[in-house]
Symmetry: C2
Subunit: 436 residues, 2 copies
Amino acid sequence: MSVIDETHDPRRESWVTSAKGHAEFPIQNLPFGVFSPSRGAPRGGVAIGDEIFDLRAGLEAGLFSGDAARAAEAAAGATLNPLMALSSGPRQALRKRLSALLFADNPERARIEALSAQLLHNASDCTMHLPAAIGSYTDFFAGIHHARNGGMRRDPNNPLSPNYKYVPVAYHSRASSVRPSGVAIRRPNGQRKLPSEDAPSYGPCRKLDYELELAIWVGPGNALGEPIPIARAGDHLFGLGLFNDWSARDIQQWESQPLGPFLGKNFGSTVSPWIVTTEALAPFRVPQPARPAGDPRPLSHLWDETDQREGAFDIALEALLMTEGLGAKGLPPHRMSASNTTDLYWTVAQMIAHHSCNGCNLAAGDLFGSGTISGPTTAGYGSLMELSNDGTREITLASGETRTFVEDGDEVIFRAHCRKAGCAPIGFGECRARII
Amino acid sequence: MSVIDETHDPRRESWVTSAKGHAEFPIQNLPFGVFSPSRGAPRGGVAIGDEIFDLRAGLEAGLFSGDAARAAEAAAGATLNPLMALSSGPRQALRKRLSALLFADNPERARIEALSAQLLHNASDCTMHLPAAIGSYTDFFAGIHHARNGGMRRDPNNPLSPNYKYVPVAYHSRASSVRPSGVAIRRPNGQRKLPSEDAPSYGPCRKLDYELELAIWVGPGNALGEPIPIARAGDHLFGLGLFNDWSARDIQQWESQPLGPFLGKNFGSTVSPWIVTTEALAPFRVPQPARPAGDPRPLSHLWDETDQREGAFDIALEALLMTEGLGAKGLPPHRMSASNTTDLYWTVAQMIAHHSCNGCNLAAGDLFGSGTISGPTTAGYGSLMELSNDGTREITLASGETRTFVEDGDEVIFRAHCRKAGCAPIGFGECRARII
């Protein structure tokens, strides 16, 4: 687990003016991403306030040495995979050095600030890319309220499958169609059959949904055949983002037996471009919520005392919907739900240990979805399937419009923040995409 | 669809002595793979008899020009992905040129044969690699006899799920753990629970199985959001190989609800190193077997007259098992089953059209498994699950040993051949791996 150090000190301010009290990217956050400046090739950067610190420019200016330089070089290219493959030593060294460089009371401040035209880009002038070349994308199912809500439609008496409390259930999904926040998603066509229909037909999805998930970015990988022990699984987490696992419910419902979701998911997914690192998240570690009485204790390869004590995260999540009707009336996006990562039944370390427990090889830049994170009540349901009860209950927006599923032109926006007394709040930026 | 031309002429012989009448790699085959010579980096090559033609050496010797040179350059590196991304024009030009270069009656023969020390490597001195960097691996379920045999355990009255005859059912599996033929596979550990047990436990797989599948290598891809029409789907097939979708049945049975197979599959898969191209397979195209009376006609996005007429392949498959007991008695591998790709319910073009019909983007070097290809009777069952009826029926080998599932030290070997009157028979080489 990463340590809390001076980089987290809430009194610490940056000389970058927009970073002061920034709701997402104060100096305590320092998330990594890949961006293109208005003129220039994709490269690694760090969000600071409304600016992006250009790691390539920092290297060219000779601002890094030793381990920090090694990490900055690994982060300066068109993907962060080389950075993700490094152990925590160089990553922590880079974080410390970045924090020092951007610190208002930095003794080098005058020299660094004088370079700011080279080092900093206004984020609004830049294009964000996928932060990594995603080798594999695996979607977990660790949001227990979502799993229960989905299972109610299958078997109201036993909504959770018998393995749910033993196995961090997951399936492989499609890496090639993951796109960064802001890229529009096309409503998919597909084969679908409603239970009321005699035969399937092919056409546009009639139940297009979003799923509010955490994006979990894998750091150093493991060799094929060599499981990652739960006690070391945390070392294989690079950081977190937000993930929209767009779901075509009608396609999914018809295709999923017996081998699981496929075309109902792989037409496109949206990930937030900034990765909040395990180092930045250190103050927001919390104990894994106790399992309800009667729930089985996980098998020993999924059980670690330290992980139970500090392996979960306290991250407040919200899903918002922007429609043309809301825009026409000058109204803000409609808040659909709010939940928290403490609603996950399994920790990230348990997911990593499970995924590799048969020897499956993970690699730096692999992406996990957490599974839809729903709260226990309607106010926290992280998908329209749950909010509209599979289309049977209309949701009324502030504009007077109603929704059961996503309409063309709608934009879905996820946000997330960590807040804790005695800590500077940090945010994840947005994960947003419009349906066309 | 590719055409039959002089490269397929059964009277054609190569000046490479071992290629004459070669059961796998006569001059009519010319499959592509990636190999390392005993001293040298990985590069593209073409199997000819017991030799490998080195495409990089051929380029250096100036043997290619125009489209053929473009294709040879794309095939000369450490992966065939660039070759796979080309359209059929350059690929056909390269095939024609290779066939001419290796042809016994080639007017350039003296000059080419004089270069043979550079151009040819003895295959037994070379190491074979994965032929491509596999972006995504998708496993279909198109072997209807296998699907029915599996479904009998769920519901003997309705062994096929309601979607089976409408949807070429598939799921995403793991690209990172696919290994070339010859690499040993470690018996996975995992969480498993037999129906007779009260709770799951973690330990070595107790029902390790193989699955006899076709490896389907995707050629040119499509852009996200742009489905590949069935009439053009054949243009997106680069070629075929053999695939062993190793399956840990006990892990799979416990984990698969509700999202499908995961750790029961992703601990390792084995693919044959040579890709038999669509061009080489042209003479072995056959009509898609007629659907039984009463089966629904596929929806129009999966239906093409030309595909029905010539979209299937006639490829004879066999699965063999080599054990220590057989080896000790000097006995050959035991033939477990023989089946044919005509046992597939869906054509490759239907798989490609289905996979992309929602806009999912395929890429050159993506790999599909066909699904286990079982024949209609026990003699053709392509997995031990079927042959042993989930472990309840022992299979006796010529050595007197018995098997229900794969034991440590066992080696599973797949072979495949195309044979047709008036054609030179061609083979796929082997897909083999030992369990350790």
